[in-house]
Subunit: 259 residues, 2 copies
Protein backbone atom coordinates (compact mmCIF):
# COMPACT_ATOMS: atom_id res chain seq x y z
CA UNK A 1 0.00 0.00 0.00
CA UNK A 2 1.06 3.57 -0.65
CA UNK A 3 1.83 5.94 2.18
CA UNK A 4 -0.54 8.82 2.94
CA UNK A 5 0.22 11.64 5.37
CA UNK A 6 -2.75 13.63 6.67
CA UNK A 7 -1.66 16.92 8.26
CA UNK A 8 -3.97 19.01 10.40
CA UNK A 9 -2.83 22.60 10.98
CA UNK A 10 -4.50 25.23 13.11
CA UNK A 11 -5.81 28.53 11.94
CA UNK A 12 -3.04 30.55 13.58
CA UNK A 13 -0.29 29.03 11.43
CA UNK A 14 -2.15 29.49 8.16
CA UNK A 15 -3.10 33.11 8.87
CA UNK A 16 0.45 34.35 9.13
CA UNK A 17 1.94 34.63 5.66
CA UNK A 18 5.47 33.75 6.76
CA UNK A 19 4.59 30.71 8.89
CA UNK A 20 2.21 29.52 6.15
CA UNK A 21 4.94 29.64 3.51
CA UNK A 22 7.35 27.71 5.76
CA UNK A 23 4.63 25.17 6.55
CA UNK A 24 3.78 24.62 2.89
CA UNK A 25 7.40 24.35 1.85
CA UNK A 26 7.91 21.60 4.47
CA UNK A 27 4.59 20.02 3.50
CA UNK A 28 5.63 19.94 -0.17
CA UNK A 29 8.72 17.89 0.77
CA UNK A 30 6.82 15.10 2.53
CA UNK A 31 7.11 11.97 0.40
CA UNK A 32 4.15 9.96 -0.81
CA UNK A 33 0.52 11.04 -0.96
CA UNK A 34 -0.59 13.87 1.27
CA UNK A 35 -3.63 15.79 2.38
CA UNK A 36 -3.95 18.97 4.44
CA UNK A 37 -6.82 19.86 6.78
CA UNK A 38 -6.80 23.44 8.02
CA UNK A 39 -8.55 25.04 10.94
CA UNK A 40 -10.44 28.24 11.15
CA UNK A 41 -8.36 30.78 12.94
CA UNK A 42 -8.96 34.17 14.35
CA UNK A 43 -9.62 36.05 11.14
CA UNK A 44 -13.17 34.67 11.26
CA UNK A 45 -13.67 36.43 14.59
CA UNK A 46 -12.08 39.64 13.32
CA UNK A 47 -14.19 39.65 10.17
CA UNK A 48 -17.34 38.77 12.10
CA UNK A 49 -16.68 41.75 14.38
CA UNK A 50 -16.17 44.09 11.44
CA UNK A 51 -19.39 42.83 9.86
CA UNK A 52 -21.21 43.42 13.13
CA UNK A 53 -21.90 39.71 13.63
CA UNK A 54 -22.12 38.98 17.34
CA UNK A 55 -20.06 36.02 18.52
CA UNK A 56 -22.24 33.94 20.81
CA UNK A 57 -20.38 31.71 23.23
CA UNK A 58 -21.70 29.00 25.56
CA UNK A 59 -19.26 27.28 27.95
CA UNK A 60 -16.34 28.71 25.99
CA UNK A 61 -17.61 27.28 22.71
CA UNK A 62 -18.72 29.36 19.80
CA UNK A 63 -22.29 29.08 18.55
CA UNK A 64 -22.59 29.06 14.78
CA UNK A 65 -25.63 31.22 14.09
CA UNK A 66 -26.69 31.92 10.48
CA UNK A 67 -24.49 35.03 10.16
CA UNK A 68 -21.50 33.23 11.66
CA UNK A 69 -22.01 30.36 9.20
CA UNK A 70 -21.73 32.87 6.34
CA UNK A 71 -18.50 34.16 7.88
CA UNK A 72 -17.15 30.61 8.25
CA UNK A 73 -18.00 29.87 4.60
CA UNK A 74 -16.26 33.07 3.52
CA UNK A 75 -13.16 32.83 5.69
CA UNK A 76 -12.55 29.07 5.89
CA UNK A 77 -13.94 28.01 2.50
CA UNK A 78 -12.81 31.09 0.59
CA UNK A 79 -10.05 33.26 1.99
CA UNK A 80 -7.92 30.74 3.91
CA UNK A 81 -8.57 27.72 1.69
CA UNK A 82 -7.88 29.44 -1.64
CA UNK A 83 -4.84 31.20 -0.27
CA UNK A 84 -3.38 27.82 0.76
CA UNK A 85 -4.30 26.24 -2.58
CA UNK A 86 -2.64 29.02 -4.60
CA UNK A 87 0.49 28.87 -2.45
CA UNK A 88 0.63 25.04 -2.71
CA UNK A 89 0.50 25.38 -6.51
CA UNK A 90 3.50 27.73 -6.31
CA UNK A 91 5.37 24.97 -4.42
CA UNK A 92 4.55 22.50 -7.20
CA UNK A 93 1.75 20.69 -5.35
CA UNK A 94 -1.39 20.12 -7.40
CA UNK A 95 -3.66 21.27 -4.59
CA UNK A 96 -7.44 21.20 -4.72
CA UNK A 97 -9.51 22.99 -2.10
CA UNK A 98 -12.43 21.04 -0.72
CA UNK A 99 -15.18 21.27 1.84
CA UNK A 100 -17.27 18.27 2.79
CA UNK A 101 -19.87 19.39 0.24
CA UNK A 102 -17.47 19.19 -2.72
CA UNK A 103 -17.84 15.76 -4.35
CA UNK A 104 -19.98 14.98 -1.30
CA UNK A 105 -16.84 13.85 0.54
CA UNK A 106 -18.01 14.51 4.10
CA UNK A 107 -21.60 14.41 5.15
CA UNK A 108 -22.63 15.66 8.58
CA UNK A 109 -25.72 16.18 10.65
CA UNK A 110 -26.63 19.46 12.31
CA UNK A 111 -25.75 18.88 15.94
CA UNK A 112 -28.90 17.84 17.82
CA UNK A 113 -30.02 20.36 20.43
CA UNK A 114 -29.72 18.99 23.97
CA UNK A 115 -28.77 21.52 26.64
CA UNK A 116 -27.17 23.86 24.11
CA UNK A 117 -28.12 24.79 20.56
CA UNK A 118 -24.80 25.03 18.75
CA UNK A 119 -26.54 26.31 15.63
CA UNK A 120 -25.00 25.32 12.29
CA UNK A 121 -22.39 22.99 13.77
CA UNK A 122 -22.02 19.68 11.99
CA UNK A 123 -21.18 16.27 13.43
CA UNK A 124 -19.54 14.03 10.82
CA UNK A 125 -21.73 11.16 9.61
CA UNK A 126 -19.72 9.70 6.72
CA UNK A 127 -16.61 10.21 4.60
CA UNK A 128 -16.56 9.11 0.96
CA UNK A 129 -13.11 7.55 0.70
CA UNK A 130 -13.61 6.74 -2.98
CA UNK A 131 -13.59 10.33 -4.25
CA UNK A 132 -10.65 11.37 -2.07
CA UNK A 133 -8.74 8.27 -3.06
CA UNK A 134 -9.34 8.99 -6.75
CA UNK A 135 -7.99 12.52 -6.37
CA UNK A 136 -4.94 11.23 -4.47
CA UNK A 137 -4.27 8.62 -7.15
CA UNK A 138 -4.23 11.40 -9.74
CA UNK A 139 -1.59 13.17 -7.64
CA UNK A 140 -3.95 15.86 -6.44
CA UNK A 141 -3.31 17.21 -2.95
CA UNK A 142 -6.62 17.83 -1.17
CA UNK A 143 -6.72 20.93 1.05
CA UNK A 144 -9.76 20.54 3.28
CA UNK A 145 -11.58 23.40 5.01
CA UNK A 146 -13.47 22.78 8.28
CA UNK A 147 -16.90 22.74 6.63
CA UNK A 148 -19.22 19.84 5.84
CA UNK A 149 -22.75 19.59 4.45
CA UNK A 150 -25.97 17.83 5.37
CA UNK A 151 -26.86 16.62 1.88
CA UNK A 152 -29.92 18.86 1.86
CA UNK A 153 -28.21 22.02 0.72
CA UNK A 154 -26.82 23.23 4.00
CA UNK A 155 -23.15 23.85 4.81
CA UNK A 156 -22.16 23.11 8.43
CA UNK A 157 -19.25 24.35 10.53
CA UNK A 158 -17.20 21.35 11.65
CA UNK A 159 -14.23 20.71 13.92
CA UNK A 160 -11.05 20.38 11.86
CA UNK A 161 -9.40 17.88 14.25
CA UNK A 162 -12.39 15.57 13.92
CA UNK A 163 -12.44 15.96 10.14
CA UNK A 164 -8.74 15.03 9.92
CA UNK A 165 -9.35 11.91 12.07
CA UNK A 166 -12.44 10.87 10.10
CA UNK A 167 -10.65 11.34 6.75
CA UNK A 168 -7.68 9.28 8.00
CA UNK A 169 -9.97 6.50 9.25
CA UNK A 170 -11.82 6.37 5.93
CA UNK A 171 -8.58 6.15 3.92
CA UNK A 172 -6.81 3.71 6.28
CA UNK A 173 -7.91 0.64 4.31
CA UNK A 174 -6.32 1.97 1.11
CA UNK A 175 -3.20 3.71 2.38
CA UNK A 176 -0.60 3.29 5.11
CA UNK A 177 -1.90 6.36 6.87
CA UNK A 178 -0.13 8.80 9.20
CA UNK A 179 -2.21 11.47 10.90
CA UNK A 180 -0.23 14.46 12.16
CA UNK A 181 -1.77 17.12 14.39
CA UNK A 182 0.28 20.32 14.33
CA UNK A 183 -0.11 22.80 17.15
CA UNK A 184 1.96 25.41 19.00
CA UNK A 185 3.86 23.01 21.29
CA UNK A 186 6.50 20.45 20.21
CA UNK A 187 4.28 17.59 21.40
CA UNK A 188 2.22 16.48 24.39
CA UNK A 189 4.12 17.73 27.45
CA UNK A 190 4.42 16.00 30.83
CA UNK A 191 5.15 19.45 32.29
CA UNK A 192 3.05 22.11 30.54
CA UNK A 193 5.67 24.74 31.49
CA UNK A 194 8.59 22.84 29.98
CA UNK A 195 8.75 22.49 26.20
CA UNK A 196 11.52 19.90 26.51
CA UNK A 197 9.21 17.50 28.42
CA UNK A 198 7.68 15.97 25.26
CA UNK A 199 6.14 12.55 25.82
CA UNK A 200 7.47 10.72 22.78
CA UNK A 201 5.16 7.70 23.17
CA UNK A 202 1.81 8.32 24.81
CA UNK A 203 0.13 5.06 25.85
CA UNK A 204 -3.66 5.22 26.15
CA UNK A 205 -3.78 4.34 29.86
CA UNK A 206 -1.20 7.04 30.62
CA UNK A 207 -3.30 9.55 28.65
CA UNK A 208 -6.17 8.67 30.96
CA UNK A 209 -3.99 9.18 34.08
CA UNK A 210 -2.60 12.49 32.77
CA UNK A 211 -6.17 13.54 32.06
CA UNK A 212 -7.22 12.65 35.62
CA UNK A 213 -4.37 14.53 37.27
CA UNK A 214 -4.85 17.53 34.96
CA UNK A 215 -1.47 17.34 33.17
CA UNK A 216 -3.40 17.01 29.91
CA UNK A 217 -6.40 19.30 29.74
CA UNK A 218 -8.58 21.67 27.73
CA UNK A 219 -8.32 21.50 23.93
CA UNK A 220 -5.75 18.70 24.00
CA UNK A 221 -8.28 16.17 25.31
CA UNK A 222 -10.64 16.07 22.27
CA UNK A 223 -7.56 16.13 19.99
CA UNK A 224 -6.16 13.03 21.73
CA UNK A 225 -9.58 11.36 21.83
CA UNK A 226 -9.76 11.86 18.05
CA UNK A 227 -6.21 10.55 17.70
CA UNK A 228 -6.75 7.36 19.74
CA UNK A 229 -10.02 6.80 17.91
CA UNK A 230 -8.07 6.96 14.62
CA UNK A 231 -5.45 4.48 15.84
CA UNK A 232 -8.18 2.09 16.96
CA UNK A 233 -9.79 2.39 13.51
CA UNK A 234 -6.73 1.31 11.54
CA UNK A 235 -4.75 4.54 11.10
CA UNK A 236 -1.11 3.45 11.32
CA UNK A 237 0.40 6.38 13.14
CA UNK A 238 -0.88 9.45 14.98
CA UNK A 239 1.63 12.18 15.84
CA UNK A 240 1.10 15.40 17.80
CA UNK A 241 3.79 17.94 17.05
CA UNK A 242 4.73 21.45 16.08
CA UNK A 243 4.37 22.52 12.46
CA UNK A 244 8.06 23.42 12.52
CA UNK A 245 8.78 19.70 12.91
CA UNK A 246 7.10 18.75 9.62
CA UNK A 247 10.47 18.65 7.86
CA UNK A 248 11.71 15.92 10.23
CA UNK A 249 8.55 14.10 11.12
CA UNK A 250 10.21 10.81 11.95
CA UNK A 251 12.09 12.12 14.96
CA UNK A 252 9.82 14.51 16.77
CA UNK A 253 6.57 14.97 18.62
CA UNK A 254 4.32 12.59 20.51
CA UNK A 255 3.22 9.27 19.02
CA UNK A 256 0.00 7.70 20.28
CA UNK A 257 0.11 4.04 21.33
CA UNK A 258 -2.89 1.95 22.35
CA UNK A 259 -1.06 -0.27 24.86
CA UNK B 1 -18.24 12.73 -28.57
CA UNK B 2 -20.24 13.39 -25.44
CA UNK B 3 -22.24 16.56 -25.02
CA UNK B 4 -21.10 19.22 -22.53
CA UNK B 5 -23.16 22.24 -21.52
CA UNK B 6 -21.28 25.14 -19.94
CA UNK B 7 -23.63 27.57 -18.19
CA UNK B 8 -22.55 31.02 -17.08
CA UNK B 9 -24.85 32.71 -14.56
CA UNK B 10 -24.55 36.17 -13.11
CA UNK B 11 -24.18 37.06 -9.50
CA UNK B 12 -27.69 38.42 -9.14
CA UNK B 13 -29.36 35.07 -9.85
CA UNK B 14 -27.16 33.12 -7.45
CA UNK B 15 -27.57 35.58 -4.59
CA UNK B 16 -31.32 35.22 -4.34
CA UNK B 17 -32.13 31.94 -2.63
CA UNK B 18 -35.35 31.36 -4.60
CA UNK B 19 -33.95 32.10 -8.07
CA UNK B 20 -30.85 30.04 -7.24
CA UNK B 21 -32.95 27.01 -6.31
CA UNK B 22 -34.97 27.30 -9.52
CA UNK B 23 -31.80 27.71 -11.56
CA UNK B 24 -30.13 24.67 -10.00
CA UNK B 25 -33.23 22.53 -10.39
CA UNK B 26 -33.31 23.38 -14.12
CA UNK B 27 -29.54 22.93 -14.34
CA UNK B 28 -29.81 19.47 -12.76
CA UNK B 29 -32.19 18.40 -15.53
CA UNK B 30 -29.86 19.26 -18.42
CA UNK B 31 -28.74 16.03 -20.02
CA UNK B 32 -25.12 15.08 -20.55
CA UNK B 33 -22.06 16.56 -18.90
CA UNK B 34 -22.36 20.02 -17.44
CA UNK B 35 -20.34 22.75 -15.81
CA UNK B 36 -21.44 25.97 -14.10
CA UNK B 37 -19.50 29.24 -13.99
CA UNK B 38 -20.90 31.83 -11.61
CA UNK B 39 -20.33 35.55 -11.41
CA UNK B 40 -19.62 37.71 -8.45
CA UNK B 41 -22.70 39.66 -7.63
CA UNK B 42 -23.51 42.52 -5.39
CA UNK B 43 -22.89 40.84 -2.05
CA UNK B 44 -19.17 41.47 -2.59
CA UNK B 45 -19.89 45.21 -2.70
CA UNK B 46 -22.16 45.01 0.35
CA UNK B 47 -19.60 43.03 2.34
CA UNK B 48 -16.76 45.29 1.22
CA UNK B 49 -18.74 48.29 2.45
CA UNK B 50 -19.42 46.67 5.81
CA UNK B 51 -15.73 45.82 6.16
CA UNK B 52 -14.84 49.40 5.36
CA UNK B 53 -13.12 48.43 2.09
CA UNK B 54 -13.41 51.30 -0.36
CA UNK B 55 -14.59 50.35 -3.84
CA UNK B 56 -12.32 52.08 -6.35
CA UNK B 57 -13.80 52.54 -9.80
CA UNK B 58 -12.15 53.73 -13.02
CA UNK B 59 -14.32 54.23 -16.12
CA UNK B 60 -17.10 52.26 -14.47
CA UNK B 61 -14.85 49.28 -13.79
CA UNK B 62 -13.93 48.09 -10.35
CA UNK B 63 -10.29 48.09 -9.29
CA UNK B 64 -9.27 44.99 -7.34
CA UNK B 65 -7.02 46.32 -4.60
CA UNK B 66 -5.57 43.93 -1.98
CA UNK B 67 -8.55 44.31 0.37
CA UNK B 68 -11.03 43.84 -2.46
CA UNK B 69 -9.18 40.68 -3.53
CA UNK B 70 -9.71 39.26 -0.03
CA UNK B 71 -13.42 40.10 -0.32
CA UNK B 72 -13.59 38.42 -3.75
CA UNK B 73 -11.90 35.30 -2.37
CA UNK B 74 -14.33 35.25 0.55
CA UNK B 75 -17.54 35.98 -1.32
CA UNK B 76 -16.95 34.32 -4.72
CA UNK B 77 -14.68 31.45 -3.63
CA UNK B 78 -16.36 30.82 -0.27
CA UNK B 79 -19.88 32.05 0.33
CA UNK B 80 -21.41 31.91 -3.17
CA UNK B 81 -19.43 28.93 -4.48
CA UNK B 82 -19.99 26.65 -1.47
CA UNK B 83 -23.64 27.60 -1.26
CA UNK B 84 -24.11 26.53 -4.90
CA UNK B 85 -22.12 23.33 -4.36
CA UNK B 86 -24.17 22.31 -1.31
CA UNK B 87 -27.45 23.05 -3.12
CA UNK B 88 -26.31 21.12 -6.23
CA UNK B 89 -25.58 18.12 -4.01
CA UNK B 90 -29.14 18.35 -2.67
CA UNK B 91 -30.36 18.16 -6.32
CA UNK B 92 -28.30 15.02 -6.84
CA UNK B 93 -25.45 16.66 -8.76
CA UNK B 94 -21.98 15.68 -7.62
CA UNK B 95 -20.76 19.28 -7.64
CA UNK B 96 -17.21 20.33 -6.94
CA UNK B 97 -16.35 23.98 -6.35
CA UNK B 98 -13.27 25.22 -8.15
CA UNK B 99 -11.26 28.36 -8.73
CA UNK B 100 -8.53 28.53 -11.37
CA UNK B 101 -6.00 27.69 -8.64
CA UNK B 102 -7.60 24.35 -7.78
CA UNK B 103 -5.88 21.59 -9.76
CA UNK B 104 -4.21 24.50 -11.56
CA UNK B 105 -7.10 24.57 -14.02
CA UNK B 106 -6.90 28.23 -15.06
CA UNK B 107 -3.72 30.22 -15.00
CA UNK B 108 -3.81 33.96 -15.48
CA UNK B 109 -1.49 36.92 -15.52
CA UNK B 110 -1.99 40.04 -13.41
CA UNK B 111 -3.33 42.57 -15.92
CA UNK B 112 -0.41 44.70 -17.15
CA UNK B 113 -0.68 48.34 -16.12
CA UNK B 114 -1.19 50.62 -19.12
CA UNK B 115 -3.38 53.67 -18.52
CA UNK B 116 -5.15 52.06 -15.58
CA UNK B 117 -3.88 49.77 -12.83
CA UNK B 118 -6.70 47.29 -12.32
CA UNK B 119 -4.89 45.76 -9.35
CA UNK B 120 -5.38 42.04 -8.78
CA UNK B 121 -7.34 41.44 -11.98
CA UNK B 122 -6.28 38.38 -13.94
CA UNK B 123 -6.26 37.86 -17.71
CA UNK B 124 -6.57 34.16 -18.57
CA UNK B 125 -3.40 32.60 -19.98
CA UNK B 126 -4.26 28.89 -20.11
CA UNK B 127 -6.91 26.33 -19.19
CA UNK B 128 -5.92 22.78 -18.30
CA UNK B 129 -8.58 20.78 -20.11
CA UNK B 130 -7.18 17.47 -18.86
CA UNK B 131 -8.10 17.95 -15.19
CA UNK B 132 -11.58 19.31 -15.96
CA UNK B 133 -12.18 16.53 -18.42
CA UNK B 134 -11.16 13.92 -15.85
CA UNK B 135 -13.61 15.35 -13.32
CA UNK B 136 -16.39 15.42 -15.92
CA UNK B 137 -15.68 11.81 -16.90
CA UNK B 138 -16.12 10.82 -13.26
CA UNK B 139 -19.53 12.52 -13.32
CA UNK B 140 -18.41 15.46 -11.21
CA UNK B 141 -20.10 18.78 -11.96
CA UNK B 142 -17.54 21.61 -11.73
CA UNK B 143 -18.87 24.84 -10.21
CA UNK B 144 -16.33 27.51 -11.11
CA UNK B 145 -15.88 30.81 -9.22
CA UNK B 146 -14.53 33.90 -11.05
CA UNK B 147 -11.03 33.57 -9.60
CA UNK B 148 -7.79 32.40 -11.22
CA UNK B 149 -4.17 32.24 -10.06
CA UNK B 150 -0.80 33.27 -11.42
CA UNK B 151 1.08 30.09 -10.50
CA UNK B 152 3.19 32.01 -8.03
CA UNK B 153 0.83 31.89 -5.11
CA UNK B 154 -1.48 34.74 -6.01
CA UNK B 155 -5.24 34.53 -6.59
CA UNK B 156 -6.60 36.93 -9.23
CA UNK B 157 -10.09 38.31 -9.78
CA UNK B 158 -11.24 37.29 -13.27
CA UNK B 159 -14.22 38.00 -15.50
CA UNK B 160 -16.67 35.09 -15.32
CA UNK B 161 -17.86 35.52 -18.97
CA UNK B 162 -14.28 35.17 -20.18
CA UNK B 163 -13.66 32.18 -17.93
CA UNK B 164 -16.76 30.41 -19.30
CA UNK B 165 -15.59 31.05 -22.90
CA UNK B 166 -12.02 29.92 -22.20
CA UNK B 167 -13.21 26.75 -20.44
CA UNK B 168 -15.54 25.94 -23.36
CA UNK B 169 -12.77 26.52 -25.92
CA UNK B 170 -10.38 24.25 -24.00
CA UNK B 171 -12.95 21.44 -23.78
CA UNK B 172 -14.26 21.79 -27.35
CA UNK B 173 -11.91 19.15 -28.73
CA UNK B 174 -13.21 16.53 -26.30
CA UNK B 175 -16.90 17.37 -26.07
CA UNK B 176 -19.70 18.67 -28.27
CA UNK B 177 -19.77 21.88 -26.33
CA UNK B 178 -22.65 24.35 -25.79
CA UNK B 179 -21.88 27.60 -24.01
CA UNK B 180 -24.90 29.34 -22.50
CA UNK B 181 -24.73 32.86 -21.09
CA UNK B 182 -27.66 33.55 -18.77
CA UNK B 183 -28.60 37.13 -18.04
CA UNK B 184 -31.70 39.16 -17.17
CA UNK B 185 -33.13 39.44 -20.69
CA UNK B 186 -34.57 36.58 -22.80
CA UNK B 187 -31.82 37.04 -25.40
CA UNK B 188 -30.12 39.74 -27.48
CA UNK B 189 -32.84 42.25 -28.33
CA UNK B 190 -33.20 44.23 -31.56
CA UNK B 191 -35.25 46.72 -29.54
CA UNK B 192 -33.83 47.08 -26.01
CA UNK B 193 -37.28 48.20 -24.79
CA UNK B 194 -39.11 45.16 -26.15
CA UNK B 195 -38.42 41.78 -24.56
CA UNK B 196 -40.22 40.03 -27.41
CA UNK B 197 -37.68 41.33 -29.95
CA UNK B 198 -35.20 38.50 -29.35
CA UNK B 199 -32.78 37.96 -32.24
CA UNK B 200 -32.87 34.19 -32.47
CA UNK B 201 -29.83 33.92 -34.80
CA UNK B 202 -27.22 36.66 -34.48
CA UNK B 203 -24.80 36.65 -37.42
CA UNK B 204 -21.39 38.17 -36.72
CA UNK B 205 -21.68 40.95 -39.33
CA UNK B 206 -25.09 41.93 -37.92
CA UNK B 207 -23.59 42.04 -34.42
CA UNK B 208 -21.07 44.53 -35.80
CA UNK B 209 -23.84 46.66 -37.36
CA UNK B 210 -25.93 46.56 -34.17
CA UNK B 211 -22.83 47.57 -32.25
CA UNK B 212 -22.24 50.52 -34.60
CA UNK B 213 -25.80 51.80 -34.41
CA UNK B 214 -25.88 51.33 -30.61
CA UNK B 215 -28.62 48.65 -30.49
CA UNK B 216 -26.11 46.38 -28.75
CA UNK B 217 -24.03 48.20 -26.17
CA UNK B 218 -22.37 48.24 -22.76
CA UNK B 219 -21.83 44.89 -21.03
CA UNK B 220 -23.34 42.91 -23.89
CA UNK B 221 -20.41 43.70 -26.21
CA UNK B 222 -17.63 41.86 -24.32
CA UNK B 223 -20.10 38.98 -23.70
CA UNK B 224 -20.72 38.65 -27.44
CA UNK B 225 -17.04 39.10 -28.26
CA UNK B 226 -16.33 36.21 -25.90
CA UNK B 227 -19.14 34.21 -27.48
CA UNK B 228 -18.01 34.71 -31.10
CA UNK B 229 -14.43 33.96 -30.04
CA UNK B 230 -15.68 30.65 -28.58
CA UNK B 231 -17.55 29.75 -31.80
CA UNK B 232 -14.45 30.52 -33.85
CA UNK B 233 -12.42 28.25 -31.55
CA UNK B 234 -14.55 25.15 -32.03
CA UNK B 235 -17.34 25.57 -29.47
CA UNK B 236 -20.42 24.13 -31.18
CA UNK B 237 -23.09 26.45 -29.92
CA UNK B 238 -23.23 29.74 -28.03
CA UNK B 239 -26.59 30.86 -26.63
CA UNK B 240 -27.49 34.07 -24.83
CA UNK B 241 -30.64 33.68 -22.80
CA UNK B 242 -32.47 34.11 -19.54
CA UNK B 243 -31.80 31.64 -16.71
CA UNK B 244 -35.53 30.91 -16.69
CA UNK B 245 -35.08 29.39 -20.16
CA UNK B 246 -32.62 26.73 -18.98
CA UNK B 247 -35.39 24.16 -18.80
CA UNK B 248 -36.14 24.57 -22.53
CA UNK B 249 -32.77 25.53 -23.93
CA UNK B 250 -33.43 24.26 -27.42
CA UNK B 251 -36.14 26.78 -28.20
CA UNK B 252 -35.14 30.05 -26.68
CA UNK B 253 -32.60 32.82 -26.63
CA UNK B 254 -30.09 34.12 -29.16
CA UNK B 255 -27.74 31.75 -30.99
CA UNK B 256 -24.48 33.16 -32.35
CA UNK B 257 -23.61 32.40 -35.98
CA UNK B 258 -20.35 33.31 -37.71
CA UNK B 259 -21.81 33.84 -41.19
Amino acid sequence: MQKLTVIKVGGKIVEDSESLSQLLEDFSKIEGKKLLVHGGGRSATTIAEKLGVKTEMVNGRRITNAEMLDVAMMVYGGLINKNIVAKCQAFGLNAIGLTGADLNIIKAVKRPVKDVDYGYAGDVVSVQAEQLSLLLKHNAVPVVAPLTHNGEGLILNTNADTMAAEISKALASEFVCSLVYCFEKPGVLSDPEDDSSVISRLVYKDFKSYQEDGTINAGMIPKLDNGFDAIRSGVDEVVITNSKALAKLNDLGTRLVLD
